[in-house]
């Protein structure tokens, strides 16, 4: 399959080349010749949902283990080569994918792709380092217990998507302790392959050269099936975690549509009006006008086939109930006094961000991959701009009137529980 998209406008010209290799890996390349850098993002179908039921944390552990020596290099040599190539690197797992990101001065790109082919295709998975990698994850898990906001939001995510899709990449202490070398090897052998994999490359590189590099690095990798999807099993409940903290940390979520849904931007614009920027409803009416909190925000989150709006507010216990009540009131009344200026401001914000994304190869590379994963194709900057530009205030109003937020999931952490509205309210 081959397709090439070329759209030009006054500000930017996006030329994204998309190719699917014989083994099922999709390669997307966006040349950005005005940059001195290049970046890639490689996503494999080896995310949290591929973990066997009892072994939550295995996907992250394997993602860590493949980087502890690969090809001709041990763990220290790998890091030395990456540093000497000037690679700013990242890795991590989400519900559906394991991802490896690398940004660098563009002359390092050919070597970097070869190195990451070693990492994902020829890792040593050294048995004598499994306990170190496990301990590393236990450290992260312990760290998260000390972060009240993260604790609240992680639990909220579990309640929102259900025990399977809502799992955290940190895993659980019990599961991490159980994982054996055999589990790591099995997960690696089953899920690390080119089937459904996505490689996005952006920056100072041309399309032909990028394709040749990708083909050389991954063209002869084995293929494999994609993990089937799981249903969302969220529940409308309220949970309180009692702790003697200075603030009450409030998390809330309601079901919504994922990125890629035809009505996504109507929904997203509403969340933008609620929470993007200093003149947004929540910031203005909860913080600026009433002084109820320092942080209050809502944002959209998407899985492949499900989505949610997640919100957070932190405030001292005596003002927590009022903060929650005002926040929910603002969300419920979003459409009652919508002003054209609110949508216009959100559009300018998104359009500015899209144009400024042209300054970052890393940001484009990761957008290429997430678009391909969520939509099945890359979206050019121009296409996205025109979708945003064509939104009318009535589109946003009608969508939100027809899809009133409800069935809230709540998690609070603090000295006292709050009165959360019942699911029927």
């Amino acid at each position: 399959m081959r397709n090439s998209t070329l759209i030009t406008s006054n500000t930017t010209a996006t030329n994204i080349r998309t190719e699917t290799l014989a083994n099922g890996m999709t390669v997307l390349i966006q040349p950005m010749p005005w940059l001195r850098t290049a970046a890639f993002s490689l996503a494999l179908r080896a995310g949290i949902k591929s973990e066997p039921e009892p072994l939550n944390g295995l996907a992250s552990l394997v993602c860590e283990m493949v980087q502890r020596g690969a090809g001709h290099y041990n763990s220290r040599e790998l890091v030395a080569i990456q540093d000497n190539l000037g690679i700013d690197r990242s890795s991590g797992v989400s519900t559906g994918m394991a991802s490896f990101g690398a940004a660098m001065p563009s002359q390092s790109l050919p070597e970097a792709l070869k190195l990451y082919a070693d990492i994902v295709r020829r890792p040593h998975l050294p048995g004598d380092q499994l306990d170190d990698a496990r301990m590393m994850m236990i450290q992260e898990l312990r760290a998260m217990e000390d972060e009240p906001t993260q604790r609240v939001m992680r639990r909220l995510r579990e309640l929102h998507y259900g025990p399977r899709l809502g799992r955290s990449h940190y895993g659980t202490m019990e599961a991490l302790k159980q994982i054996a070398e055999r589990d790591v090897r099995e997960f690696y052998q089953t899920h690390y392959h080119a089937g459904g994999a996505i490689l996005g490359i952006a920056g100072d590189i041309d399309g032909d050269q990028g394709l040749q590099l990708a083909e050389a690095a991954f063209g002869d990798w084995k293929t494999g099936p994609e993990e089937p999807s799981f249903p969302v099993e969220g529940q409308a409940v309220y949970e309180h975690i009692e702790l003697p903290s200075s603030q009450t940390h409030i998390g809330f979520a309601f079901a919504s549509i994922p990125y890629g849904h035809p009505e996504y931007f109507k929904m997203r614009a509403g969340v933008g009006i609620l929470s993007d920027g200093m003149s947004s409803r929540l910031f203005d009416r909860v913080r600026e006008q009433r002084g109820l909190c320092y942080t209050v925000a809502a944002s959209c989150h998407s899985l492949k086939n499900a989505g949610g709006v997640f919100g957070y507010a932190g405030t001292t216990p005596e003002r927590a109930q009022e903060t929650l009540d005002v926040t929910l009131h603002e969300i419920a009344n979003l459409t009652s006094d919508l002003q054209p200026g609110e949508l216009d401001r959100w559009k300018v914000r998104i359009e500015s961000a899209l144009i400024m994304e042209q300054e970052s190869s890393a940001s484009r590379a990761s957008s290429l991959v997430s678009d391909q994963y969520q939509l099945g194709r890359a979206l050019t900057t121009e296409e996205l701009e025109s979708k945003i530009e064509s939104l009318a205030l009535d589109d946003v109003r009608n969508y939100w009137d027809q899809h009133q937020p409800g069935d809230y999931r709540f998690v609070t952490l603090g000295p006292q529980a709050l009165q959360a509205p019942s699911p029927a309210a």
């Binding site: 940004a103 200075s246 003149s279 190869s361 890393a362």
Partner: protein, 418 residues
């Protein structure tokens, strides 16, 4: 290559810009010499409180107008306060330059309304409470207080709940007039900037800033007592903390020291989050969640931080590992291969960072404000590439042998040994 231009207006306000017409964006920031080190006890937290109040309205704009107009320009706008300065900044598309400068400059002339002051006091108290719940639970502030004393550089930026509760709007107005004078202010810009238009716009706006009243300097603090709400215990008991948070501090290079590049590379070799000596000893092995070092440069002094997070029962053993790593760097210096790796990493990072004007702004503005000095990307790269093993080893002997003080934030029931 970007072009550097600067000018000092008749009022004393300075403007500095690194102009690159190829950029998609332009970043602008007002950098003001008003930080917690400029406060006395009864003003503790004022620089930061004032930073919030600058968004709360001017003679011609309400608070809502300010926030709304900032959003209309679609950029990334915000402000922050440190021990030495307060910064108001925004990155926007070049077409919004005039409107943004009009707005930012107007914001620097706030009305400081008494009612807004009361509402915002609550937000500041919430911000203080928020940080009390977050790791490392005030351990950095405590470390600064212990090392520098609770005044001057050791004064906490947010102030204390006590100082904020007792603050008055009159005191804030006096502090504003004292610190927000043109000679204490730099306007910096980077990216796709129209320099001449910027100078014209700001010349007009800032004309009246010279005629701000000059309030009397407040009387000096009684150095024999602690400011309200301040304690200097080396251990902070934190209810229910899982991890132990250990901060230590020693001397480091100043913003003007020639060996600051050597110190940064030394810190990278010892404590970078991937591939440093501490990484391989403590992070890669899962013995600690964080084990790192970094130099923090101030105008007239410097600090060298060491930061470790781990399980409380592992603190003593891990601390010994850190001490050995430091001792070895002092005794044996660094290896050529380590130096090359750290320099390659730092230069690549610098090149990548320089692609976004918003990233260049902060170094440019602070340096011009504090040191009247500009360092371009190529010079930074040259300074890094010119480092040799001797220079970094000398920095290790100079900064890693200065006396060290420590602060711990740990669960209330935990006893630390070692």
């Amino acid at each position: 290559m970007p072009e550097f231009r600067s000018v000092t207006l008749p009022s004393g306000l300075r403007i500095a810009a690194e102009i690159d017409s190829r950029s998609y964006s332009a970043a602008f920031g007002y950098f003001v010499r008003a930080g917690s080190r400029d406060e006395v006890d009864c003003e503790s937290g004022l620089s930061h409180f004032l930073e919030h109040m600058m968004f709360k309205g001017t003679a011609s704009r309400s608070a809502a107008d300010v926030n709304r107009e900032l959003d209309e320009l679609g950029g990334q706008s915000n402000a922050f306060t440190t021990e030495e300065q307060t910064v108001y900044y925004s990155t926007v598309l070049p077409k919004y330059q005039d409107r943004l400068l009009d707005l930012l400059s107007d914001m620097l002339d706030p009305i400081l309304d008494a009612e807004e002051f009361e509402t915002e006091r609550q937000v500041i108290l919430e911000e203080i409470a928020k940080y009390e719940d977050q790791p490392p639970f005030g351990a950095f502030e405590r470390m600064m207080e212990v090392h520098f004393g609770p005044r001057g550089l050791g004064r906490r930026v947010l102030g204390t709940a006590e100082s904020i509760q007792s603050m008055t709007v009159e005191r804030m107005r006096d502090y504003f007039h004292r610190r927000y004078r043109p000679e204490n202010i730099v306007l910096a810009a980077s990216g796709n900037v129209d320099f001449d238009a910027m100078v014209d716009a700001v010349s007009q706006h800032s004309r009246s800033w010279c005629s701000r009243p000059q309030p009397a300097v407040p009387s000096a603090d009684d150095s024999g007592s602690l400011p309200p709400g301040i304690q200097l215990d080396r251990t902070l008991p934190i209810a229910d903390a899982f991890q132990a948070y250990c901060v230590s501090i020693a001397g480091g290079p100043t913003m003007k020291s020639d060996d600051r590049y050597a110190a940064r590379v030394l810190a990278s070799i010892i404590g970078d989050e991937g591939g440093s000596r501490l990484f391989w000893e403590l992070i890669d092995t899962g013995r600690a969640e964080v084990a790192t070092v970094w130099p923090q440069e101030f105008t007239d002094t410097g600090a060298w931080f060491t930061y470790m997070i781990c399980a409380p029962e592992d603190v003593a053993a891990n601390q010994r590992v850190i001490d050995e790593v430091i001792h070895s760097a002092v005794e044996n210096g660094v290896q050529q291969s380590e130096l090359e790796q750290a320099v390659n990493k730092a230069t690549a990072g610098c090149i990548m960072q320089s692609e976004r004007p918003g990233n260049r702004l902060f170094g440019l503005g602070s340096r011009w404000l504090m040191c009247d000095d500009y360092v371009n990307v190529d010079e930074t790269l040259q300074r890094l590439r010119a480092l040799d093993v001797d220079a970094v080893s000398v920095a290790a002997r100079k900064y890693l042998t200065t006396p060290i003080e420590r602060v711990f934030a740990v669960g209330a029931e935990v006893e630390l040994s070692g």
